[in-house]
Symmetry: C2
Subunit: 212 residues, 2 copies
Amino acid sequence: MSSEKKISQASVIRLELYMEYLEQLGREGRKYVTSKEIGESLGIAAVSVRQDLFGLSSAGKPKVGYEIEKLLSLIYEVFDMNKIKKACIVGYGNLGRALAKSQIWERAGYELAAIFDNDPSVVGTGSDGVKVRSVSELFGVINSEEIRMAVIATPAGEAQETARLLVSAGIKGIWNFAPLKLNVPDEIAVENQSLVWGLITLSFAMKDVETN
Amino acid sequence: MSSEKKISQASVIRLELYMEYLEQLGREGRKYVTSKEIGESLGIAAVSVRQDLFGLSSAGKPKVGYEIEKLLSLIYEVFDMNKIKKACIVGYGNLGRALAKSQIWERAGYELAAIFDNDPSVVGTGSDGVKVRSVSELFGVINSEEIRMAVIATPAGEAQETARLLVSAGIKGIWNFAPLKLNVPDEIAVENQSLVWGLITLSFAMKDVETN
DNA sequence: TAGATTGTTAATCGATTAACAATC
DNA sequence: TAGATTGTTAATCGATTAACAATC
């Protein structure tokens, strides 16, 4: 049914940039924007912008450009932002707490439905009405609440075992903050966002610039 | 002086994976590892592993494999992890606090030297001996302490102005958590690690799998 | 030695950029 | 209409994979 072209990982990153930029233009009351303007504002070649939007089967108008509202609808659709999906967090340390309190859930179309932690001293506390439960309840809660996405914010040493447990409970996508490759079945989507790897990547880029 | 080959962004990500894996093998007392074993453990083609290590001018031994300690030294060098560099955080909200308290600094070779925030109610508080200062002190402190790397953990609306200020103070690399493209001079390294973009990327991957 | 594994060039694949016809 | 901009194919570029000689 879906006649969509394949959207590359690089294109996904750019579409996220376009989304923020288009929303900003929308707030300023703009109706249309050209690939040239998007490209110049974001440091991307206009032809790359057109290719990315071509991948969305987007309908721009020659000479006028792309209708901002329509383009945003297509992007929201691609990112599955229109329906509310349930998420849970495993690990309620500093990072887990920051994530729980952040506004990313609403922004991306999620409801934070559960939080799990092993530490008895945090079980029962919570954030905005979501109580922290024991990991022993993880399997049952994910099943009964039909949660399909989970965040791993545990210590690195517990990440692999947590992933195994999550998959057995029916989780289909894992947002992994532990700095290691999770061993999970191919059909499980994993997005790694290890903070330390981000920091190291920046160190590399800074060293690179110096050396030149 | 550096005869290093160009290391691609994709290779950097893989080298981070190798690093964690090699350290684990080292803790288990292993001395050598082959590209085949690294590849199979991390889901990467062995020839890709060899190409990445070739980029490091690494000296493996045919039939034996790569010496783990030597390989790790080369990776630490590439990631500039051997010398302590100074970092600062701008924005002491939930995310800024989680970052300040995390162990990533030591891991990646940084010393968290300063924290800045605009909110008078958090100025003066702090984390592990690092006091939160007013943003009005930012320029002076970065200059006198010779800090060259900064984290932007401010609200998105303040990120661009913060970046401008940081660059004017002499910062050379920015770890940006705001979901937008920062407009900075080309020679400034920027690593974007917007949490909401990570979450959206996962949503896309999950949708992709469903559709197939 | 024979066999396994590296180092490195060549081939393939995919993503970016160029070109340009279609069209508003 | 003329000119600007999109949509889309072709060309280029870079990264991944294949091939295989060197070598331990």
